[in-house]
Symmetry: D2
Subunit: 487 residues, 4 copies
């Protein structure tokens, strides 16, 4: 069928076996449990948009395999337009939900990256990974799957490689290769949107050497696979998700630790199995696309921050236009990460399997901004909104509703007469949530750290070549090489 | 007696009548209730330090009135050394608690500001406010009081003055002047440390004109005065204060809405009553000192962020020195707000009553940094710590302790072998709390907004005089005045 | 012929009549006069590159009209690839020369913009401007012309529109419309590369109303047209251009005031004549492309600054890699303006005449960076190089060559033994020139001011729409419009 | 006499022997030669101010030795007020001249630093340096001397210590110790204000070890000492100093290379001679005071930039107040470096000889701002002024005065009618000079590099202690030390 509705999507989640925990409790139904229903709601808005004529152009497309209509997040990205569509869809999703929707993002990118990689691996090793992958992609397109992606391992001691860790389960690895599949164990950390996903696409978390070849594994598993324990992380103010009232929005995000204990993955779902030589390339392709596209995520959240700041200004009795200088600064930040990401895509090219690979240098330079500019945008959002926003500093919904002193509280929080106190409170809580609460995206380390990005920028900046241009302009005749290292 | 112990302090709080609410509930004992005991603990550390020879020089002094030893926060600040001592004490308090201790800060500054103001008012109007104030200060010194300060009103519609508000209670005002005292009503908002305080020093929230003269009131009230309803605000992650375990530290801050309904204040505790002409001067003196000293607060919190980042680096298996470049950037930020504040003090002078008044231009320029640099320091703290810090992204204490999957979780969060998983978790939660949780100080709007500070900088920058210097250097003979406004 | 050689180019310049002045002197031959020969040399390197197989792909192409090989800077830009080629060529030119080459840039963009505009104007007014333009473009392609572009007027009093100025010649305008052409007068200011150009493409300097319709003029004129007085501007350290020796490089830039006094332009060269309604659109299209592409210029100059910093580090006895952190910061700055420009192009689309128009929002957001990031890049270049670079602080070439104390000076300026003192001096002068001298590009106001760009960002940021997204997420039911303006 | 007039000062310079060269030419009279007369004029304004009742409080004082009135720049700085006076005087000097006046600054600081150092050295080694120094200070006070200071050596290869250099003259050193004095050779580089000075105070350029003990030398020499060759450096646009007209102001700065060849210094003028152990302390004390005070220099220049920007706005036809947001940003920058410097002084204390030593941590943190904020202030100055300012982009004075086309040029540069074209030109040239020309102070590397300052900040930031505060707040029981280095 390809295009699913919100209801079909929710039914598909309800049908899964419970294996997600939070606060020491097993979550029976992710679609209704307070810890997870908000992220389900967020992802469901992607299904709504797929059927909404205002947005559907950015949410659905035609399968290049079958010609059927499919959700964009299950599609192959063969052209610049395709990958720009990825970026545009994410900006919309942040505008609709204010936060990350990992299940419509990471698995999508992972499947396209692995298409390029399997072309290389199959060529070198005579494997048939791409055929397996195609089969799974067809399944994913037909079912309209939401697929989280697991790249980041728990890692253990940062100064050691996976095979050097005391605890081998600090990183996901192959425990056994069988005729019919593989057995995996280990931990993926901080994985977004798992609770709202049908499946999870797993990738190696780094570029590995031979001694780490057991860690060179890529496969895709159902979220409720046997042997997988999922523990949702606690984040700022997530306790409010267990309450009713205006202290938290109806959308949300989850980030999980995935603890695999001897999970069996049938071979049809395995796309890399020990070919460590290509793990670096996986990271290269994945991050190039991911760090190009993530600019759209923080831009979309920044759009909502501009909007939230405007609401606050008005609720405070002022015009939003009073703050247009600051809003322009916010907008420039948003357009910077969005636009540099688009630039990285435009300078990219088709990869070895035909799927688009963005330009690494620009993508990683963009990551530096993604890890800094949103902090400034948040600061400006707090600046415009006033003290009530900065630290979410006003009484709770329960105090508003208290029979005795509730009316006093409402009067105290009242701003401009033309709006209710609750409107001001809701706007303030939104700004708080976006800047200090669970709406905080992982812009700093999400998809890797800015320091890692700087290493790539460093590697891709041809300092010696630039020195040659300078030497020519300066009219220097002698060679000017680096000094001898031993010096 | 002057110098109180932690125990005496806590007893003094227990003796008060309950009038503080949070989450719809009356708090019977602030020293034990989860919503308030952390701020009491924080303030109590100030009493500990007063008796600790390592720190007492910065925490106790001799009364200029009686020669008795007193807590510094009840003293008069007559010299540069005195006010630098204010700054130093606050930096220590942030290092001890990681957060704001309003009860050792705002009332102190307020009493000194009002000493200068009452000198002026008494001189012009023949009142005897200073004598009343002296009597109260002696009482405060003798009892070793913790005194919160209430400056910021709830304000209502920001585009209207107090007397124009639909709701007169948006700002604190005098309802009645009696022979024996005054009756006040209205709302002070976002007042720090009230739950840990014995009394509250009230100041007008702005520079007022004649039509707002009922709002020109300064007095001091017991925290449990009849007619006062205190509602504590909800802040990021404050729900954790109701839990046990490592997800939140043992120190903390509260910020309250103070809703006064026909409260009677005896005249001995009233230091301004309608003399609107001096309200602007109160704001000027108060902000000059406050914005000079607040640089020490954010510096002290930044010190702890450097420390917390060092803990995280080590728990991750790395050396703190790996990040010394970023730590230097953090340190420069800390020293900037601290040092500019000290500079503002050094360029200050004795006010009309003999108490020190810092330089307004430097103090307000400093406020601009106080509202921006800590955001960068927080960003760097998250940068160094990794994704686990950025969004507090790992399982909760309850998950660590779960009998079934707890051991899995601990293994997953384990970093360097030489530390326990809980150490890494505690360090990560501290960084989260400092950058995203309840440890977030009101550095943006606390003590007024950066935009307000910029207005002062604008007013105190003699552009025309600077144009004259430029004209002389440029050798321009003709006058170069501003164009006619009508143009 | 289409593709010209350096020699042919220089011959074409020599054949022109002298009408350029500097320092009170008429320049007889721009190719040999010290004030202009460096900019000619710079532009000549574009001809070299057209014939150099390493670079020719970015310097020559095929005419869409004739199928002949032509210099890229005379081509039509119909696709994203075409306009990205514009950006790439400029980055190369900066790498080859360290500075701006206006004659290979502005006329090119102007002709493409006017192609789109004439499509609209011809359609509305039944004019045949596009046919005239095509004829001229064919001429330009065939002759391989270098064409400066004149947009910015002298403007006079910034608070007045052109028709309100006391001096009508503050802006270029039509004095008379004749059967066979038009007569123009007025001043274009700060026009780059005129001395190296064969012709000058003139555009209106703003979006005009009916009363300013005489100022709505676009045409192209030979540089040596009768009635045109060109006065080259004096820039930092341009006096060195009159010297020999290493104190200044062999490349350079010129910026001119073009003072037109009753110049007759035959009608075949006139592409807009009073149709004021379309002047705003000219500015829109021109700046969208120009501010997208200018990111490449400052990036290319930044590349040379990285190189120059590397030379300095080595000449000082250190390795360039010691400064890789700062060089990464420089590279991120370069890639930001380059990449956002590419992003603006990728989000653009074909204009009404079929030529590509970049996205305005991204292009103008990029201009904000173009006006700020290069300042940081320059600061870092000075930081790495040391005091000798910062203010160009060391003796002159003449002192190096002095028979008596020259040897002392050389010894004093000597850095690492393995390089000559002159190498260190040349590298230092290059950094000085790039950051403080004539190599300073007009990154701040070139192609318009950053404040103007911010106005566009403001206009194109849908704050009300963003407020609606925020309102939906916050769950606010009531409408939250701006307050009544009269309030 | 102590207090000299401008005329007496100029006479004292005329009486000296010529030993200064620039552009291959010996300068016979520094007070009239175009290359040096502007720096003499600048310094002379300090003498004017000493006699001007508006400023004299900051320019003259009473000798602590004799009770006579003296110029401040010859005084001892024993108290916080004394050293704040140093800062204030420098801010005034920049306001009067727009640039650095090294002869009123470095020698002053050097003599005070050496007072503290000689106290230590005399105590350890039984020398009598302080007595010699006192004698010289009395001479300096009596004669009202202008004394440049030489700290920075030419250094040669940055990776080698002085004694390792191929060329021993890369650093100043003792060639011979005689009964009656010492013989010195070597090079001091980039020394400000030498041409306007009577004498030069020499200090070692680094903290040296035993093998470099010949480089541990401090003494004071007449500017025209036998054996000293002074070569003035070429700086941006300094060629204009040889012209008349408005293209450059009447004030200015010089920076010289001092090449000493076997210069004999009588022992009464020698204050350190081989006691290498104290060279580090000299650097520590010198930089603590210098980097505290230099904040005032860049602040004063920033004041003039605000003024110059205001002139430009008005000359362009606009009001300065239109740009008040940017001017506030400029003012905050100015007050930051000024205020942090004052803070460093206020946290300082009397040194071992009784002279004030500022706080190193704050002083070096301030240096980081001194090396960055002025770049932003300059950018804003260019931003406000328009393209005409950014690159000094308009015709020269000679073109204004050309009989034929001069009137055209004046008309073209005319802005608002109410001012002359020359006024606009002069204002533009001033902004150009301040931001790109010879008015550029050595804010980056002057008094040492920002990287050196960061090393001090790093050394003085107690990361381990901060980690302990964090550990206590986080409730971590186990110790968290750095990992073993070998790992």
């Amino acid at each position: 069928m390809g295009l699913k509705t919100r209801q079909e999507y929710i039914r598909s989640l309800k049908a899964m076996k419970p294996n997600i925990y939070k606060f020491g409790e097993l979550i029976e139904d992710v679609t209704t449990h307070p810890a997870t229903r908000r992220t389900v709601e967020s992802h469901a808005r992607g299904f709504d948009a797929s059927h909404d004529p205002r947005y559907s152009a950015d949410f659905e497309t035609v399968s290049t395999f079958t010609g059927e209509r499919i959700h964009k997040w299950t599609s192959m990205m063969e052209s610049l337009d395709d990958i720009m569509g990825n970026s545009k869809m994410k900006r919309w999703m942040y505008r609709f939900t204010g936060t990350c929707n990992g299940g419509l993002c990471v698995g999508w990118n992972a499947s396209n990256v692995m298409w390029n990689i399997t072309a290389l691996v199959d060529k070198e090793y005579g494997t048939a990974y791409q055929e397996r992958l195609k089969k799974w992609i067809l399944h994913s397109q037909e079912k309209g799957l939401v697929v989280a992606g697991g790249l980041t391992d728990a890692k253990g001691d940062r100064s050691l490689r996976p095979s050097q860790q005391t605890n081998p389960d600090s990183n996901l690895h192959i425990r056994e290769v069988r005729e019919d599949g593989i057995v995996i164990s280990g931990t993926k950390a901080m994985i977004c949107g798992v609770a709202a996903s049908n499946e999870i696409f797993l990738l190696p978390g780094g570029g590995y050497r031979e001694e780490d070849k057991d860690y060179a594994v890529s496969c895709v598993v159902p979220r409720d696979i046997e042997g997988l324990t999922i523990v949702e992380t606690r984040r700022p103010s997530d306790g409010r998700e267990y309450e009713n009232g205006f202290d938290i929005p109806e959308t949300g995000i989850t980030q999980a630790y995935l603890i695999f204990t001897d999970c069996f993955v049938p071979k049809d779902r395995v796309f890399l199995c020990g070919e460590f030589k290509y793990t670096g390339r996986i990271i290269e392709y994945f991050t190039a696309n991911y760090r190009a596209c993530i600019g759209a995520c923080v831009a979309g959240q920044g759009d909502v921050m501009i909007g939230s700041a405007a609401l606050m200004a008005r609720a405070n009795g002022l015009a939003a236009r009073t703050f247009s200088g600051k809003m322009v600064d916010m907008a420039v930040n948003n357009e910077t990460t969005y636009g540099m990401g688009i630039g990285a895509m435009a300078l990219g090219k088709k990869g070895p399997g035909g799927m688009w690979v963005s330009d690494s240098l620009l993508a990683h330079a963009n990551k530096v901004h993604v890890a800094t500019l949103p902090y400034e945008t948040k600061r400006l959002c707090q600046d415009i909104g006033g003290g009530i926003v900065e630290t979410g500093c006003f009484p709770s919904c329960k105090d508003f509703d208290h029979p005795a002193y509730g009316p006093l509280v409402r009067k105290a929080v009242q701003g401009a007469d033309r709006f209710s106190a609750e409107t001001r409170a809701r706007a303030a809580r939104l700004s708080e949530w976006l800047t200090l609460g669970a709406g905080v995206p992982g812009c700093m380390h999400g998809g890797g750290s800015p320091d890692g990005a700087k290493l790539v920028v460093r590697a891709l900046t041809p300092v010696d070549q630039f020195a040659e241009y300078a030497r020519a302009i300066a009219g220097i005749d002698e060679a000017v090489p680096e000094p001898d290292k031993k010096k």
